[in-house]
């Protein structure tokens, strides 16, 4: 009887030590769940979710501090993917954080720009090229359409241009089929 207890306690101690050692030696840096969530988010870094960027929002979702339907650029599709990842119910987008807008790219009116660099400091992906008292211009290929450059501009020279659909970016649309009337 005693040997049985001693054996069980011994096994427990060994497993406990093994777990303790692996908790230190095999510790994972960062929060893997937050990284998986960040991989789904659209990386617009716009702040509409209420957090200063996509990574902070991902961290908040991983900690359970934020809901999954706060990202308008991700759209309904993003909410669905997050719901699938976290194993929760998908819900409609929270309108208080904004509505999904068509993809746009910022454009600086060069006649008005005064070269103050305030927009350059605001852009989260460094998509504006320029320097103090030099012409500023948006690098269209890198612009994510987050609109963070619009408020700081003192002369209001930045506008958002929606991306028009051209041949290389054209997509087949969901077929709309005429159903046959049977009754």
């Amino acid at each position: 009887m005693l040997t049985a207890i001693l054996v069980m306690v011994g096994i427990a101690v060994v497993i406990g030590l093994a777990l303790g050692w692996s908790a230190i030696r095999l510790k994972v840096e960062g929060n893997p769940l937050a990284e998986k969530i960040d991989a789904i988010l659209p990386q617009t870094q716009c702040g509409q979710c209420g957090f200063p960027g996509c990574k902070p929002y991902a961290n908040a979702i991983a900690k359970g501090e934020a809901d999954i339907n706060q990202c308008p650029p991700g759209g309904e599709d993003g909410v669905k993917k997050l719901a699938e990842l976290l194993g929760v119910e998908a819900k409609p987008l929270d309108e208080t954080h904004g509505v999904p807008k068509p993809k746009s790219v910022a454009f600086i009116d060069e006649q008005i720009c005064i070269g103050c660099t305030l927009c350059i400091q605001a852009c989260p992906v460094d998509a504006i090229s320029g320097a103090a008292k030099q012409m500023h211009t948006i690098i269209a290929a890198e612009c994510t359409g987050c609109e963070l450059c619009l408020p700081p501009c003192p002369v209001d020279c930045i506008s958002m241009e929606p991306i028009a659909e051209d041949l290389p970016h054209w997509k087949w649309k969901h077929p709309v089929v005429m159903m046959k009337r049977v009754a």
Partner: protein, 555 residues
């Protein structure tokens, strides 16, 4: 010679309609007055224009250069003057325009100086570069730049070369006529292909509904000094599909998601072989191709048409008829409805099919899917169309990919047999399109994340560097000041700092004094009086500005 042939699963037998257009000899379509040549005619990057508006060009002159590895050049189809480089309607189902080079013909059809390539002396790389510069692309439908396909690559040796003379789609006869009338040239092209790829087995697959073509090719093959197997394959749609023809002739299946070159087989269309022969033995770039014009026209036939010919011009040459309900580019199974007939003939245009209500009765409305699986029975890629339809409709693209959506060749056999008349292929095209668009977005998002993270890192780095610089500067200044008065070696940190601050303040005072006007004190009487007069004048003007104008006082 008898050779074991294999029968792929599925396929359908739509009515062939070949005799309408294969009884007349091929005609050379007249040079149109205006040619519209798109720069995007092939898979890969569109070509970049190298001419400017107003420039005169000769027939065969390079007008757009290949851009990137998977790309092909574009040439002027006749001599004339470039009138525009802008967006024009092209043959695309969306109706969106694309960048085209518009060429106004001068009527002379004058060739640029050109000559044969010494292909046996040139290095393979040089020959492939020359073919790329001559605009060679696959004419079987996919329009893949041929120079890339003619590179065997070190990974998998290419032992079997298959020349595709299948032409399984109804109504289309351009490849059949090419084999009947240009068999020698086709096999000349095959000679060059064999030279570049080093294949040992060369097979030509021709459907057995083209007996004259088979005889013509067999006769031409006897003139060659290497063996070419001309094989008649059973006529079935889509037996001319590359993967289907490979299976029929060799019994080998291309694994899902892989290319035929991964099993050592390369396939080229007979039209591509012919264009290759023209390129190597005459030095002619790809500026024309054989096009079938059939269906609801007076004289269905094949034309040798210049690239850039407006499609309505070709229809007019074949004899336009009233009662046309639409025009397809391609055949009835895989063809694309042309939204605009001013779109030009491009390298991919194998056929123009004019529809009428009698030939192409309008489809009845669709009914729900009844899971009869007739579509699965006929799918030549051995897929499950009913499942793919269900997933595509629901937007479940992950599952669609699990069911091998990207192995679908969009042949249309499934929608052909569907008793509910559901346009199945449109759903697969939609699903593929969405998946590609999402992958693109994901790549863009990953790039944006990288840029954002680098920006965070850069800001941190700048802060650190600034702090370090200031600390270093302070250190240097302190060292300077403590170095001069050596006797005060025992001076404390605080005193040294105080000295620094005092010195800085003195410098600032001096600078301020410099900037101040120095002539405002102890003025002479004359200057003082002048100043008083000016001040009085200013005061008077201020008074006047405050009181209303004379004109306003009495309206």
């Amino acid at each position: 010679m008898s050779r074991e042939l294999f029968r792929f699963k599925g396929g359908v037998h739509p009515p062939e309609h070949k005799t309408e257009s294969n009884t007349r000899p091929v005609a050379r379509a007249p040079v149109p007055s205006v040619l519209v040549i798109p720069v995007r005619q092939h898979i890969g990057n569109p070509a970049k224009p190298v001419v400017h508006v107003g420039q005169p060009v000769l027939k065969g002159q390079l007008i757009a250069a290949a851009d990137g590895y998977i790309s092909s050049a574009v040439h002027a189809s006749t001599s004339g003057v470039i009138s525009d480089i802008d967006l024009q309607p092209v043959a695309h189902v969306s109706g969106l325009p694309d960048l085209c080079i518009t060429l106004v013909s001068d009527g002379r059809d004058e060739w640029i100086a050109h000559g044969p390539l010494d292909y046996q002396v040139m290095t393979p790389a040089a020959l492939r570069l020359a073919l790329r510069e001559l605009g060679l692309a696959g004419l079987g439908g996919a329009v893949f730049p041929s120079a890339v396909k003619l590179d065997p690559g070190a990974a998998h040796p290419c032992h079997t070369l298959i020349i595709n003379g299948g032409e399984c789609e109804p109504w289309i006869t351009c490849d059949e006529m090419l084999m009947r009338e240009r068999a020698d040239a086709i096999l000349q092209g095959v000679t060059v292909m064999r030279h570049l790829l080093g294949c040992t087995d060369i097979l030509v697959g021709i459907e057995d509904n083209k007996p004259e073509a088979i005889v013509a090719m067999q006769t031409a093959a006897t003139q060659l000094d290497f063996a070419v197997d001309i094989i008649a394959v059973p006529a079935i749609y889509p037996g001319g599909g590359a993967k289907q023809l490979i299976y029929t002739l060799t019994g080998k299946q291309v694994p899902s998601g892989k290319l035929s070159t991964d099993i050592g087989i390369q396939v080229f269309n007979v039209g591509t072989a012919y264009a290759l022969a023209r390129a190597v033995f005459q030095g002619e770039p790809l500026i024309s191709r054989w096009v079938t014009v059939s269906g609801h026209v007076l004289r269905p036939q094949n034309f040798e048409a210049l690239i850039g010919t407006p499609i309505h011009t070709l229809i007019a040459h074949a004899g336009e008829r009233s009662g046309a309900t639409g025009v397809l580019m391609g055949g009835p199974m895989m063809g694309m409805t042309l939204p605009d007939l001013s779109a030009p003939v491009v390298k991919a245009t194998n056929s123009i099919l004019v529809k009428s209500a009698a030939l192409f009765p309008p489809l009845p409305g669709a009914l729900p899917c009844i899971r009869c699986t007739r579509c699965a029975d006929v799918c030549p890629a051995e897929l499950q169309p009913q499942e793919l339809f269900r997933f595509a409709k629901a937007g479940d693209f992950g599952r669609a990919q699990e069911y091998h959506l990207f192995d679908c060749i969009e042949c249309g056999c499934c929608s052909y047999v569907c008793p509910s008349h559901i346009p199945l292929v449109d759903y697969y095209r939609y699903a593929k399109s969405e998946i590609w668009a999402r992958e693109k977005e994901k790549r863009a998002a990953d790039l944006a994340r990288e840029r954002h993270e680098f920006r965070q890192f850069r800001l941190e780095r700048e802060k650190k560097e600034k702090a370090e610089k200031l600390a270093a500067k302070a250190q240097a200044k302190r060292a300077e000041l403590t170095a001069a008065p050596a006797s005060e070696a025992a001076a404390s940190e605080v005193d040294a700092k105080k000295a620094l601050i005092a010195a800085a303040m003195a410098r600032a005072q001096a600078k301020k004094a410099e900037a101040e006007p120095k002539n405002t004190e102890s003025l002479s009487a004359v200057t003082q009086r002048e100043i008083e007069e000016i001040e009085a004048r200013r005061a008077k003007i201020r008074e006047l500005a405050r009181s209303p104008l004379e004109s306003e006082k009495n309206p």
